[in-house]
Amino acid sequence: MTRIDRIAEPWGTRTPYGSGGDWPVRVDTHLAEGVAPEDVDRWVQTASLLHSNGDAMDIAVKDNRIVGVRGRAVDRVNHGRLGPKDLYGWQANASPDRLTKPLVREGGKLVETDWDTAMQRVVDRSKALLAEQGPSAIGFYTTGQLFSEEYYTLGAIAHGGIGTNHVDGNTRLCTATAGEALKESFGCDGQPGSYTDVDHADVIALYGHNVAETQTVLWTRMLDRLAGPNPPKIICVDPRMTPVAKAATLHLAPRPGTNVALMNGILHEIISNGWVDHEYINAHTVGFAELEKEVKNYPPALVAEICGVPAELISEAASIIGHAERLLSTVLQGFYQSNQATAAAVQVNNVNIIRGMLGKPGCGILQMNGQPTAENTRECGADGDLAAFRNWSNDAHIKDLARVWNIDPMSIPHYSPPTHVMQMMRYAEDGSIRMLWVSGTNPAVSLPELARIRGILEQERLFLVVQDIFLSETAQLADVVLPAATWGEKTGTFTNVDRTVHLSEKAVDPPGEARPDLDIFIDYAHRMGLQDKDGQPLIKWNDSESAFEAWKECTRGRPCDYTGITYDKLRGGSGIQWPCNEENPDGTERIYADGKFWAHPEYCETYGRDLITGAPVDPSEYKALNPEGKAIIKAAEYMPPHELPSQDFPLQLITGRTLYQFHTRTKTGRAPELNAAAPDVWVELSADDAGAYGIAEGDLAEVATPRGSVRANVRISGIRNGVLFLPFHYGYWDTDGGHQPDGAGRAANELTITDWDAASKQPIFKTAAARVTRVSAGDGPSPAPTTTASAPVGGFPEGASTKGIPSALADEAPQIAGGAR
């Protein structure tokens, strides 16, 4: 057992292993000061809720308080490891500023009240709006951090009970493109790959995916492969010098907004050199000829000009990918939140498809998720989809869902795809959505163009309900605030990016009168009197396990089949990958083996969309294109971003995450070790740009776009010339402004543009034209971490590198079996 500072060493100690080997176990533990493992009363099984990796862990409970966490050695995802957010984030649960009583707005102020009063206000308003305008007046906006049971209940209430089409989750901001890209290529959501593909791959290509910061434990797995025999080659596409870029065999740093051109260039080289599996293409795909024709227009010399990347590097990347025997491709926000998000992510799918690299060990695609339960919002129908991947434009699917809920098919809105959050904000702006119920998310910081969003949420005519664990920026604007329980205080399941389902059990009681989100939703359904067609309550379940059983029934026969999973089966051992049913009682590691897809016109989740216009493909067109349900190869032309640099705004702004914070810092900002590691906003620019603008490390600078400005201390980093980076976590709850800037802006989204990908409807956070000006000298280096993509270049004061506060020491126990309850 060793103790190390996991702030200074986010990925911990190496445990090298070779190609095809088993990833060694390393159990990470962090307990509160003064608590030893033998003092712990009980260990309660769960998984991480602060990123999407799905790290399995046990919560340590002592005297009915959470006192620490330990990685689960037996779990397939992390083999005992935990990342910094897992190790320290749990402390936020016990913050003194948790919401403990419902609040209602009285005379302009939020005042404490009881549950009856608060719920009655919500119900009264809902009923009045339904009577006056109908379901189009009501919208629900949820998160990526609730459980399946809760999303399913919310989806059933909204789609089946209220009958509104306005249901979305904040997974729209991070993962909508992952889902859409998979649907476009395979007719269905769900990852073809498995995390174990890391163990086998000889080439791992990461597209806009800074895995070292977003899924630290997955990166640990890759680092251990790199440290062992037969390491894989790494291809990194990222305009920043991330830890991935530093470890890469080849790093491409394209100009923001040009991903489709780059991918077309790579595909051009792969196809023209014949590095494709024609047999696979002929047997299992449609659309190859279109792709061949389109990418002919993208020779490396032209792509080099568009992307600002040397042509030789494009050819070299294509050659490495083209010669891979086992290719794992992963994609995240660098593609998803950028210009032509879906089109770019689909081209990554195309690489694996035309090389026949699917359904075999090491041959995978991980269209990553940004949030831990993102997959569940999509599956359960709380993120612009219908429950269990049912196709809104297939009447048979609607009829089947109506059967499950025992309601009339007409009660389920399916005249168009469910409304995405940016469109919901527009409807709130034009006054046609008059009640918005936000659960577990913080649009007043996380949506683009914050001045506009605040203007919409502040309107008198909008009745805003916020269900959360803290008085977030959004909650401060609410008419009713409902205090919720969180991870460790309630039971439920969630599914990570490689389809692994974990159970998260209640360890302690929630504070004060806070209630599990599931109880709040069910209470609402009953108070609203929502019924099925026999006059029975629409929501027939009353706790998490009965909700899970109902959800399982809804998934029967669908791709995300959970029918073989029970709470008991998830207890004690490892997480299980869906589909898990009679045929696959232990779950399914890789889908799409032997070229079998879920894309048949009768079965597929969607008929897809035009990658440029976003127009839905109609059923007859899809049937003609893909009558047998093969993989779909979709080509796309490059379109320039909607906002390009100009004389006034000569630079490009991208935003993103840091390793130590999550979402809008609601939890990580309240965990002392994490907060100290990345305490405040910074802006990154390259050494050349810093020189050109006369700016030094730590100087205070103002970053402006046509929509607003933010002040931040400068970090001179390895970012591409002409590009600025701002982390998006920092809002106002811990400033005098409360929910808005008090003087200079701090939230990156003051600056971002209101624009979204036409296919996935995911907002574009990574292409705004911007300028930077020096305001004053700083009094030291910027608060940016030095261990991550924001690592400084050039002269940097010794001793100023990121390290943990004394309580950051955590235990590592290599090769010791553990994780028992």
Partner: protein, 160 residues
Amino acid sequence: MKFGLVLEEMHRSENDLAHHLLTISERHKVDHEVYHLARDLARWSQQHVRDIAAMGKNYGLDLDPEPRDEMGLMETIREKGSEMVGRRPETGMLLLRDLRELYLKACGVSADWELLAQAAQGMKDKKLLGLAGKCHPQTIRQMKWANGKLKESATQVLVS
């Protein structure tokens, strides 16, 4: 031969479609998807105008290769006006009207491309057929976009 008339009509209708897309974009600046997409899609029609003008030379026609101006004073005023009235519900009805008109215009252009392709076959003009083959699918995509947006927006506008 009446073919010159078809090409002239094609040139006029693509110009008109491009202009209508830009007008919609400006008029609905607060509907951000409409604003951005309509501008993107206008570029396709503008390119078609250039391509048709170049093709016209082969048939002795002198067509203006430059698409109609993008933004005049009136358009700028329209854009500002859109931002000012963006919170009023009536803008929804205007959006539906504009999308409906766009859909019909794009259908018309699509029919024109069909006429042109038929003529090209008759004249065995491979270049002309190639032009129709390149442009017509984009017109259909413009049409489908207008139709899709119309369907997506109609319910909210009409029942609220």
